[in-house]
């Protein structure tokens, strides 16, 4: 089948897609976008994290046809030409990149976190990145990178954080931004 969608702001399509392929497979093998990674293909590692219509998802869990007509943003869509997105820059500067296999997924997840919550506390950062496994760094410098990017204050709480035509966040749910008090024991959660 043919799958047509907007990827990183450009209309793209893939032909001869087998109906059982995931969006991840289509991105990597048919659309020349191998930035999203295939570390587990079962939603456990987050290395395939992308935006689907403004929502952070694992591309390995999206059936190709489900992305028909949708807007997809991958790690390849965050930089503006040769200028790294501030999240990308922070990851390199903070030493959060070792083998780098988890890095694309972490960057997209961090981008999503900071767009919704520009000044996250450490517990909020951890909860937001709990779906991204890293085997090299022990996460310490990943946290440093997120704090570094957040501290540079480049986001407003709503709207397109990068000004680079990312899909709007209407209808995109998320935890309530800016509320940094964790749930008290007994609360149902924010």
């Amino acid at each position: 089948m043919r799958v047509s969608c907007t990827i990183n702001g450009e209309p793209r399509h893939a032909d001869d897609v087998w109906e059982g392929e995931s969006l991840l497979y289509v991105l990597r093998e048919r659309l020349g976008l191998p930035g999203s990674k295939n570390a587990c293909e079962q939603g456990e590692c987050g290395s395939c994290s992308v935006y689907l219509d403004g929502v952070l998802v694992c591309a390995c869990l999206v059936l190709a046809g489900q992305a028909e007509g949708s807007e997809v943003v991958t790690v390849e869509g965050l930089a503006a030409g040769d200028d790294l997105h501030p999240v990308q820059e922070a990851f390199v500067e903070a030493g959060a990149v070792q083998c780098g296999f988890c890095t694309p997924g972490l960057i997209v997840a961090t981008h999503d976190l900071l767009a919704r919550n520009p000044s996250p506390t450490d517990p909020e950062i951890r909860e937001a990145l709990a779906g991204n496994l890293c085997r090299c760094t022990g996460y310490e410098k990943v946290l440093d990178a997120v704090r570094l990017a957040a501290g540079r204050g480049l986001w407003t709480a709503t709207g397109d954080p990068s000004g680079r035509g990312l899909p709007s966040r209407s209808g995109a749910p998320g935890t309530r931004g800016g509320d940094d008090a964790g749930p008290r024991a007994g609360e149902a959660g924010t």
Binding site: C60, Q66, A188
Partner: protein, 290 residues
């Protein structure tokens, strides 16, 4: 493999009537794993993400009708007030990526004994609304799970929604995992107190071939609360009663040993979770503060 993408519920049901072998997919957090790992090769797959009726929820008759396509993220953000137990459970699921896609209906559709939403649904006596091209029906949650990963769904039926009463009292949910995120429950427990009706509801997860209710524990506690008029006096619950409640919950479980834990541990842990969640819920009832 055929990919089918209806745009309305009647269309989806019509497809199911014609192709009862079609596998429904919404968030994909279960179905895609099976596809990616070559464990399933359905002849047809039915994408439900473009069916708007499934993604809505609304309040009616003192209850909430939650569309099958409501994701965990939305449950946390939008339903915490009406359905606190469900919201706590949704928060324990997976990761943000999983919560953004996984759905309440999908959890029911997989009918796993480990499904995180199931214990809260059991605890409030939810009803599952299912439909086929021939009409809709409601299945009480107690009758929905018929075996490990088996449900009362007919082959041509889809899960449309879950009906839950809005909370009239404190609700709790607790889940044991050997890691702090992204973990399938070793065991879990849901509790709902209904002061108006004098009822106690429970749900046990990952400790039996299906999610279970601890009927004897519920009756015992209801008896204590009503005979000692504790609902209205809001006096503290005696330790003996709490302990007994825990024992009865543990006894209601039918756990096994597997890669995630042993039966003995599961029984033990359920007793602890039951005592603790009861303590928190009762404290909330007494003080009005969670």
């Amino acid at each position: 493999m055929e990919f089918l993408q209806p745009r309305s519920l009647p269309d989806a049901l019509a497809i199911m009537a014609e192709r009862p072998d079609a596998v429904p997919i919404a968030g994909g957090t279960d179905v895609m794993v099976e596809l990616n790992f070559d464990r399933r090769r359905p002849e047809a797959i039915l994408d439900l993400t473009r069916v708007p009726e499934l993604g809505a929820w609304d309040r009616s008759d003192g209850g909430v009708r939650v569309g099958a396509g409501v994701t965990y993220t939305r449950a946390i953000a939008e339903l915490a007030g009406d359905l606190p137990g469900l919201a706590i459970a949704a928060r324990t699921v997976g990761s943000p990526q999983i919560r953004n896609r996984g759905t309440i209906g999908g959890n029911l559709g997989s009918a796993s004994p480990a499904g995180d939403c199931h214990p809260p649904l059991l605890a409030v006596g939810a009803e599952v609304e299912v439909a086929s091209a021939g009409g809709a029906r409601r299945v009480p949650i107690d009758e929905f799970f018929t075996g490990p990963k088996q449900s009362a769904l007919e082959p041509d039926e889809l899960i449309c929604a879950v009906h839950l009463p809005a909370a009239t009292g404190p609700q709790q949910f607790a889940k044991i995992g050997t890691r702090n995120a992204m973990v399938i429950a070793v065991c879990s427990f849901g509790l709902a107190l209904d002061p108006a009706g004098g009822r106690v509801g429970t749900g046990i997860g990952s400790a039996g071939p299906t999610p279970l209710r601890a009927g004897e524990a519920e009756e015992f506690l209801e008896g204590v609360l009503s005979s000692e008029d504790l609902w209205s006096s809001r006096a503290p619950l005696g330790e003996a009663a709490v302990a007994r409640f825990g024992e009865l919950v543990a006894a209601a479980a039918r756990p096994i040993d597997d890669v995630r834990g042993t039966a003995a541990y599961r029984s033990h842990a359920l007793g602890v979770l039951a005592r603790r969640t009861l303590g928190w819920a009762w404290d909330e009832h007494r003080t009005g503060r969670s």
